[in-house]
C-alpha cells in the first residue's frame, strides 16, 4: 500500500480496495517503525489522522467520491495547524500550538486529505541540508549518512521512504526542488503568489512559496489544483485564474522549445550530473521537444543577491520571536533587554542567528545601498533575463543541483559552500517564476534531479513535460533499499 502514488491511492479508495483507515493505520505503523532512523517527523498526529480517516471513509460510504478524499499527506512544520504544535524546527516555537490553520493546509483538509503530522525541516527554513533543525537532521533514505537536502528535509525523506505518499513543502531558494532532487522525488515550486502564504511562517516573504513533493507530476498536479488561487488574507497572492493541470498532463511535447542556459552548465557542475541532464535532453527530444542554447547573463550574481535580500527579510520577520507573547522565554528575565537577549539567544540556532546578523547588517544605515539596494537591482536584472529568455523559449531546463547530496556534517562549518549549492535553484525564486525538479538518473546509488523552469503561471507546462518524461522513464518510481 505504501508504494502507491497519490493517484493510485485515489483510485484504490474509490474502488474500495482498502479504506482510508487501513491505509492510515499502515502508514502510521511504518512511521513508528522506520522514522526513528530517518527523523522526518517532528510531530505525528496519530489520533487526529485516524479521526480524519474515519470521517473520509464515512463520506466515501455515503457516496462521495472526491479525488483527494482520504489521501494521507503530511505538512512541513512551518504551516500553522490549529491545535497542533507548529515548531518551524526551532526551539523558539517548540512549545507553540498554533491557534489557526494555514490556507494551504485548510484547503487540503477541506477536500478530505488526512494529515499524518508535521515534518522536519531546517530551522525556519534556513538551510539546504536539514541539519539546522532543532530536532536534529533528517537522513536521506538512499544513504542515511547523507543529507536529504533542505529546507524541506522531512518533507522529502518521509515521501522518499514511503511513510506518506506526498507532502507540503516551501521553497524560498530551492527548498522543495533541491531535496526532491536528492531523494528521487518530483517537487514543484509554483509561481510566487500562486498559493497563499497565510499561515506559512515567514522566512523571506518575497521568496516564500508553498509547494509539494510527491512521486510524480500527476500527484503534484492534483495537490496544486486543490490549493492554488487568490486568498484575500494574502495581499501578495495572485488573482490569476487557475489552470486545469490534470488536463495539461497528457498534451504531447511536439513543438515545445526548451532553452538550455549556458550558466547552468558551468564548471561548478558535477560532470556526472551533466551527463544525466544530457540523457534527459535526449529523452525529451525523442518526445518531440526541441532545444536551444540560451544565456541568462546575470545568473552568476544570483546567490549573493538572494542571501542579502532573504536574510534582510528574515531579520525582521523573526523579530516577533521576542519571548513576549508566545514561544520560548528565558527563565527569570531581569529586565526587558535581558528578556530579549536571552530568549532569542537561547532559542535560535546558529544558522538563524547568522542570517539575522547578515540581514540586519545589510539593512543598516550606511550599508543599505551597497547591499540591500544593489541586491534588489540584481534581482531585477535576473527577472529581466528570464522574461527575455521566455520570449524565445517555452521552458528552461538544467540541473537542479551542482552536486550530489553530501555527507551529514561535512559542510556544517562552511556556510558559504552550503549557500553555493543553491546556485541553480535561487534564480527562479529571485524572479518569482515556477520551477520543478524531477528524478532523471542515479549516480552511485543516489538520485539526480533535472530542473524545469517556466514563465509566470505556466505550472501546467512544467507538469506536462515532467509527466510526459515520466511516461517514458522510471527514475521516479525507484524506491530506496529497505523502504
Amino acid at each position: 500500500m505504501h508504494q502507491l502514488t497519490l493517484t493510485d491511492i485515489s483510485k484504490a479508495l474509490a474502488a474500495k480496495q482498502f479504506s482510508a483507515r487501513e491505509l492510515t493505520t499502515h502508514l502510521l505503523a511504518r512511521i513508528e517503525q522506520l522514522d526513528p532512523q530517518l527523523n522526518s517527523f517532528i510531530t505525528v498526529s496519530k489520533e487526529s489522522a485516524l479521526q480524519q480517516a474515519d470521517a473520509a471513509d464515512e463520506l466515501r460510504s455515503s457516496g462521495i467520491n472526491a479525488p483527494l478524499l482520504g489521501l494521507p499527506i503530511a505538512h512541513k512544520d512551518l504551516f500553522c495547524t490549529e491545535g497542533v504544535r507548529t515548531s518551524c524546527a526551532s526551539k523558539t516555537l517548540d512549545n507553540f500550538i498554533a491557534p489557526y490553520t494555514a490556507t494551504v493546509v485548510d484547503k487540503l483538509n477541506k477536500v478530505g486529505c488526512i494529515s499524518l503530522g508535521k515534518l522536519n525541516m531546517d530551522e525556519f527554513a534556513m538551510g539546504s541540508s536539514g541539519e539546522t533543525s532543532f530536532y536534529g537532521p533528517s537522513k536521506n533514505p538512499w544513504d542515511t549518512q547523507r543529507i536529504p537536502g533542505g529546507s524541506s528535509s522531512g518533507s522529502a525523506v518521509a515521501v522518499a521512504a514511503r511513510l506518506v505518499p506526498a507532502s507540503t513543502g516551501s521553497d524560498s531558494g530551492g527548498s522543495i526542488r533541491q531535496p526532491a532532487a536528492f531523494t528521487g522525488l518530483t517537487g514543484i515550486k509554483p509561481t510566487y503568489g500562486r498559493i497563499s502564504r497565510w499561515g506559512m511562517t515567514a522566512y523571506a516573504s518575497s521568496f516564500d512559496q508553498a509547494g509539494f513533493l510527491a512521486h510524480n507530476a500527476e500527484d503534484c498536479a492534483m495537490l496544486l489544483q486543490a490549493t492554488a488561487g487568490f486568498d484575500e488574507r494574502d495581499s501578495t497572492s495572485a488573482q490569476q485564474p487557475v489552470d486545469d493541470y490534470a488536463a495539461a498532463l497528457s498534451l504531447p511535447l511536439q513543438g515545445l522549445r526548451i532553452g538550455l542556459p549556458k550558466e547552468y552548465f558551468s564548471s561548478d557542475l558535477d560532470g556526472r550530473i551533466g551527463d544525466v541532464v544530457n540523457n534527459s535532453i535526449e529523452q525529451l527530444k525523442q518526445l518531440g521537444a526541441t532545444f536551444v542554447d540560451i544565456s541568462l547573463p546575470s545568473l552568476p550574481h544570483a546567490v549573493p543577491a538572494y542571501y542579502v535580500i532573504a536574510s534582510a527579510e528574515a531579520s525582521t520577520n523573526l523579530a516577533r520571536f521576542d519571548g513576549v507573547r508566545f514561544g520560548h522565554r528565558c527563565e527569570n528575565p531581569q529586565n526587558l533587554e535581558d528578556l530579549y537577549l536571552r530568549s532569542r539567544d537561547e532559542a535560535f540556532g546558529k544558522e538563524v542567528k547568522r542570517r539575522i546578523m547578515i540581514g540586519t547588517y545589510a539593512l543598516s544605515t550606511g550599508y543599505y545601498d551597497a547591499y540591500y539596494l544593489k541586491a534588489q537591482k540584481i534581482r531585477r536584472l535576473i527577472k529581466n533575463d528570464f522574461v527575455s529568455a521566455f520570449k524565445d523559449v517555452d521552458l528552461i531546463l538544467g540541473p537542479t543541483t551542482p552536486n550530489l547530496p553530501w555527507l551529514i556534517g561535512s559542510k556544517i562549518d562552511d556556510p558559504v559552500a552550503a549557500y553555493l549549492e543553491d546556485i541553480y535553484t535561487v534564480p527562479a525564486n529571485l524572479a518569482g517564476i515556477p520551477g520543478l525538479s524531477m528524478p532523471a538518473g542515479m549516480i552511485d546509488g543516489l538520485p539526480v534531479g533535472v530542473q524545469l523552469l517556466a514563465p509566470y503561471f505556466q505550472e501546467a507546462r512544467l507538469l506536462q513535460v515532467a509527466h510526459q518524461f515520466q511516461q517514458h522513464t522510471d527514475w521516479h518510481a525507484r524506491t530506496p533499499a529497505g523502504f
Partner: protein
Amino acid sequence: MQWETVIGLEIHAQLATNTKIFSGSATAFGAEPNSHASLIDLAMPGTLPVLNAEAVRMACMFGLAVDAHIAEHNIFARKNYFYPDLPKGYQTSQMDDPIVGLGHLDIALDDGSIKRVNITRAHLEEDAGKSLHEDFSGMTGIDLNRAGTPLLEIVSEPELSNAKEAVAYAKAIHTLVRYLNICDGNMAEGSFRCDCNVSVRPKGQTKLGTRTEIKNVNSFRFIERAINHEIQRQIELIEDGGKVTQETRLYDPNKDETRSMRSKEEANDYRYFPCPDLLPVHIPREMLEELRTHLPELPTQKRERFEKDFGLSTYDASVLSASREMANYFEAVEKTCADAKLATNWVMGELSSLLNKENLDITQSPVSAEQLGGMLVRIKDNTISGKIAKMVFEAMAAGEGDADQIIEQRGLKQVTDSGAIEAMLDEVLAANAEQVEQYRASDENKRGKMFGFFVGQAMRASKGKANPQQVNELLKQKLDQ
C-alpha cells in the same frame, strides 16, 4: 544676542476607520484590554497584513484638502525596533514613497494675518499597543487594542517661528481633519498628538540650529508651554557656552519642563525597507477626482466666505469656522436673525462664555441656534433691549423656553410708548429734584457726567424695559428745558 526660533510639527492623527489598518479588529477606544487583538495584531507566525481601503481613502481626502501631490503609487515600509507593545518587532509605516506629498495649509494668526505653512508629507502607519506599568506589581502589562490603529502622520516644514504659530497650525490641522471626518480629534484619548521639533539660531543666520524633538504632546496648551520652555532652555544653554544636542525629549506638564529621553547616539537604526507583505498601493486618478467632488467645504474656504459674505474680521471668521459644528451653529443663528454682526457678537460673546463656564461643546449648547436667532430677532425689532436680552438668554439657558415665551411670561417687553416714558421720567425727576437743580446749574462738561445718573435712575424705575434710546432723548429734552 537676538534669537529666532524654527519649529516643525509632526502630528499623528488617528484615522476614524471602523477597523484597523491591517486587520479586521475594531478600533473602538476603551474596550477590555486585548479584546480587540486578532491573530494579526498579535503578530502570530504566518499572519499577513491586508490594507484597509478606508484608511487609504481618508489619507487621500487629507491630501486633497491640503492641495498636496498624491502619487499614483505609494509604498509601505517596515520600521524595525524592539518594544513589547510592538508585536511584530517592526512598525509598518511609509518612508520613501508616502501617500501624501508636498502640500500646504493657510492659517490665521492672532494679529489677523494669514500664514501659509508647507506640509512636507503625510504618511500612513500603524499605531503601537500600550504598555501598562501599573497594577502588575513589578511586571508590565501589554494591551494590544490600539496596536494597528491607522495613523496619518502629518509632517510640516520647519516654518513655524514661535509657539503661538505652532499652536495655530496644530489647531488648523485639528480643525481640518475633523471637517473631513477622518479623525475624531480627541486629544485626551490620544487620537491627535504632536511631536514638536524645535531649534534656535541667532537672528539672521540661515543655517538651522541643532534641533530637539519633544515627543507626544497631547494638548494645545502643552504644545505652547513645551515649545516655550524648550526655546528658553536652548537659548540659555547656548548663551552659557553650551551646545544643544540632537535628542528626543519628553514634556512633563506637572513640572512644566522637558527632559531628555534618548540622544541621537542612542537612537535606533530603524533599518527601513519596503514591506514585502504588501503590494505598492495604487491610487487611481478617477478615485481622486471622485473624492474631490465629495470634499466638504474646508475651514479656509469657510473662513473666507464668512469674511466675504458676512463682513467678519479674519479673527472672528476663523473662530467661527474652527469647527464644522460651530460654523453650522453660527450660520443657523445668522439665517434666523439675518444680522451677521449681531449673530457674531452673541455667538462669540454670551454663548461662548456660557459654554466655557459649563465646559460644554457647541453641540451640547443648552440654547439652540434657532432659540438664539429668535431672541436676536426681538432685539432687532426693539421688543427687548440688549440688556434685557441677557436676562432672556440666561432664562433660555435655564430651559425656560423660547425668547418670546420668556418675554411674555416675565413681562419683559420693552416700553416704547413715549407718553408712558415721559410720565415715568417726570416721576424720576421729581424724586431727584436736588440733582436736577445741580444739573441745570452746571456747565456742559459736568452735565455730561451727570446725565448718566438720570439714565440709570430711569432704567431702574422702568425695570430696564424702557427703550434706552427714547429714554435718552426724552430725558435730555426734559433736563434741558
